[in-house]
Subunit: 370 residues, 2 copies
């Protein structure tokens, strides 16, 4: 009898040594954590055990635990925001649950009822309420994770796993307004490929991106613009999705991002950007496209003055403006008409931010923890 | 000042509760371990710390440790064999050190002097000497591993890492002689890609292979034969390299394995098979080829009666004979002329086994721990 994940069974043990939140101007992304951890153990035999919130603690892992050898690990990243009434809100967390279950299936790790985990996360947020900082750009970053915890070196599906959530208070990604970044278009290493696992949020997709990122940094660029294939298809930027804005000869504009063809992570901010753009931009003036595009198209349209803006999207920054792309020794300059970003980049940032902080509503995208 | 790995600094703390080795007929691969663990910590600031051999113990890992999120992990697999004089030998372990350093560089983990780690492994083997079982097919499996141990959720190169070696006594892969396996030729999932990380021994390459393996198992096949591209190139089998033997019209034969084009793990048994075949097979009768081959070639040559044998190679089994390949609903039958394997498969197994157990010598391929 394999038990489902059941939020109603939650057991909470609070720390006897509560800490004070770090002053918000001193926050560094992912470096400090709240006082507790949400954990649910899983075994193949018994399914999901009793969910617990306990004082934050280290894991005791046998050196032969499968997560340390065969990368049985996946994660999600989402944030909790404090609204003007002091309530704690999450943004489209159901999308994270959906993706987490897709990742789990692909990684031979256990799946679960996403709504049950959201209820547990709500309870976790209420316990950690004092760690959710106040102010635009401030939030509590949540890191749901599943690791395989079977002990043994045989390469097979884990029979034991641990789902856990930790939380880190974070400040604005760009502490003094936007700062546009320079990219190196990378074709000597590939992040993902057709029929691979690039569309799943597995730890396995991250390790291989660090060496190329260090190489790009040596040459003065912040991130890699990941190209694919002889055609030079644009896929992602660093660990974010990527968007371009082009101006057409007839005065209309196009917002473009690569399609979900199995190589692209289905980002929540990517999806939100597309949906809000389709909803808010006048269709007489704008086309919103999920289509393949190449570095050559970007280069040619930049040369013709038709490249209007470019930006990455992700949970950490919402949008990250791009002002330069280095490709085979040449610079493609990207305009930043609004000062530090393009105009649409800034609009999208504000649309999403307003929903996240509860100042605007759109569908059921914002959920109050209660 | 970043210290190099220095075997002369080894500190040994023996267990006060030594265990008795499990009777060898009860051994299961990678399930039981010896009494100790070899460990060396690394920090970006100070380099490699004092190597230690201590009682086997769990690691205390913060839930935000980078190995659990971004797959900063790599490993090697090699074996120690007891020779007829009772000495403990390793087989071409310098090749494992070479590959481990290649993996480390690609994974943004620390590199080290391979000969120093081999000296430490020799000392570890002398400490664990009683756990090295006697008899052909029996050995002590060694698992050198490096994990990133920095704590924090920023995606960047680890500034802390742990290199460790654990050891598991193992019996013959095929306990009652060879047992040929059936493969499912897999084209709906892709293990590796040009300019990807398939040629490095990273944990990241393993997690994605489990779900397809479970799918193949449901249909009665032991492993996946990983195909690549529209051409149906053959790359690897399960977590092993793969070889085919073809008979030519003029009576000569060809031993073929895919070339090291960046998608293939450079297996030590693969390399040994090639070198021994080139050295021992008469060149008037045999061609030994590292070349691309497709599932279509295998199918066509099987239909013409020119497919003579096929086998996987790896440290666990040396060779693993193949008797069937299922491709798009059709079975390609592979002869097993020597009963449970092809004749060359059996020969290669014995050539390598004899060197591993010190019954034959070839170059400097066998190293006595002392």
């Amino acid at each position: 009898m394999s038990a489902p994940l059941d939020a109603s069974k939650l057991e909470i043990t609070k720390t006897t040594t509560p800490s004070e939140p770090i002053p918000k101007e001193k926050l560094v992304f992912g470096k400090s954590f709240t006082d507790h951890i949400l954990e649910i153990e899983w075994t193949k035999e018994n399914g999901w055990a009793t969910p617990t919130i306990k004082p934050y603690h280290s894991f005791a892992l046998d050196p032969a635990t499968c997560v340390l050898h065969y990368s049985f690990e996946l994660f999600e990243g989402l944030k909790a925001y404090r609204d003007s009434n002091g309530k704690i809100r999450t943004f489209r967390a159901d999308k994270n649950m959906e993706r987490m279950n897709r990742s789990a299936k692909r990684a031979a790790l256990p799946t679960f009822d996403g709504e049950e985990l959201l209820k547990l996360i709500d309870q976790f947020l209420l316990v950690e309420e004092k760690f959710v900082p106040t102010g635009y750009g401030y939030s509590l970053y949540l890191r749901p994770t599943i690791i395989g915890t079977s002990v043994g070196l045989g390469v097979s599906a884990p029979t034991k796993a641990l789902l856990y959530v930790i939380a880190s208070p974070v400040g604005p990604y760009f502490s003094a307004g936007f700062k546009p970044v320079s990219l190196e278009a990378t074709d000597y290493a590939v992040r993902a490929w057709p029929k691979g696992v690039g569309s799943f949020k597995l730890g396995a997709n991250y390790v291989s991106c660090i060496e190329p990122q260090m190489e790009a940094a040596k040459r003065g660029h912040s991130q890699n613009l990941w190209l694919f294939g002889e055609e030079g298809y644009i896929t992602e930027v660093g660990a974010m999705n990527v968007f371009f804005v082009f101006k057409n000869a007839d005065g209309t504009q196009e917002l473009v991002t690569p399609p979900l063809d199995g190589m692209i992570l289905p980002g929540v901010t990517r999806d939100s950007t597309l949906e809000l753009a389709r909803s808010k931009l006048p269709s007489s003036e704008w086309t919103v496209s999920e289509r393949k595009l190449t570095i050559h198209e970007v280069k040619e349209r930049a040369a013709k003055g038709e490249l209007v803006e470019a930006f990455g999207t992700g949970t950490a920054a919402i949008v990250s403006p791009i002002d330069n792309i280095e490709y085979q020794g040449e610079s493609i300059k990207v305009p930043v008409a609004a000062g530090s970003s393009g105009e649409l980049t800034l609009k999208i940032n504000n649309w999403i931010k307003d929903i996240q902080y509860g100042d605007d509503t759109f569908k059921n995208w914002s959920r109050v923890a209660q």
